[in-house]
């Protein structure tokens, strides 16, 4: 099974990289960019075929390593085909 885990900074956590990118878009002439937040996307391939078990494993992976929940939220997307 394939999955994607999206990790984003929580609201209120300063994102200096996003700010710098936002500034660079402005200097390229893209007007009206109100804000840019930078995150991470993980593509994971699993041997597991049971969606519930896969989801549970992905939850654990996210909590234990992929995201630091002091500053980040994660969202799991599972391709169930």
């Amino acid at each position: 099974m394939k999955a994607r885990i999206k990790v984003m900074l929580k609201n209120g956590v300063l994102d200096p990289q996003g700010k710098a990118i936002e500034g660079a878009l402005g200097s390229l002439g893209f007007a009206g960019v109100a804000s840019v937040r930078q995150g991470k996307l993980f593509e994971v391939e699993l041997a597991e075929t049971n969606p519930a078990k896969a989801r549970a494993a992905l939850e654990e992976m996210s909590k234990k390593l992929l995201a630091n929940t002091v500053i980040e939220n994660y969202a799991i997307e599972l391709d169930e085909k």
Binding site: P16, K64, L65, N68, V70
Partner: protein, 222 residues
């Protein structure tokens, strides 16, 4: 005092730390590779500075899950003293041994300079050789030294006097909350700080106040 320095792929300050420990404690510290699963009987374990695993994922994140960390956690629970400097502080936070996290410097630049450090709590095993409020010069060298945590945790560690060092006199180099440069755990045996006391131990360094930190531990475990 017996001490150990844990070495990860990408650590780069372990030699400075080994040198400082030997110089100050008079005993040769042992270097422990991260794949080992047990630390020998020591009084102090140090996680040195560097860029373990190239700062992949988040600084300190991969090192915090290394094999040796289970035993480090066990030793910390038993009251063994643990010190994390720079990347070591980041690893201790990622491992959950200290609260919060070190994120990218607010101005996005790597800083390598001297800062002024204020001893915010001189009543710890790591700081008794300093005077409360003492300000001393110490070098920093990091890109991710910006201490962050949620408001509740921040209020708790401030309330419990667990901020041990603060950047003083407007020298906060990274945007760290409340000018936090170093914190300690609840029990008082695990401390992390971003600056490098091991590089401020001889007159040639321009100052020797970094010694006080190691001498405090030496006295505490005696």
């Amino acid at each position: 005092m017996k001490s150990a320095v844990i070495v990860f792929p990408g650590s780069n300050r372990e030699r400075d730390m080994l040198y400082a420990l030997e110089k100050i404690t008079g005993e040769k510290p042992i270097a422990v590779w991260h794949t080992e699963t047990e630390l020998s009987k020591v009084d102090l374990v140090v996680l040195p500075g560097g860029f373990s695993y190239g700062d992949y994922l988040r600084t300190g994140a991969i090192a915090a899950r290394a094999a040796i960390m289970d035993d480090l956690r066990k030793k910390a629970d038993q009251g063994v003293h643990v010190l994390g400097v720079c990347n070591g502080f980041q690893i201790l936070c990622e491992a959950g041994l200290l609260p919060g996290i070190l994120v990218r410097n607010s101005h996005l630049k790597f800083v390598c300079r001297n800062v002024k450090l204020e001893v915010a709590n001189a009543n710890t095993d790591f700081t008794r050789k300093y005077a409360q409020g003492q300000v001393w010069r110490c070098p920093v060298a990091h890109g991710d030294g910006n201490y962050f945590t949620d408001a509740e945790t921040l209020a708790r560690i401030e309330g419990e006097n667990r901020v041990v060092f603060r950047y003083a006199e407007g020298t906060n180099p990274n945007g760290s909350l409340n000018d936090i440069a170093g914190i300690i755990n609840e029990r008082g045996n695990v401390m992390g700080l971003m600056p490098h006391p091991e590089n401020e131990i001889e007159p040639l360094n321009g100052g020797t106040e970094g010694r006080n930190l190691f001498e405090s531990v030496l006295e505490a475990v005696a």
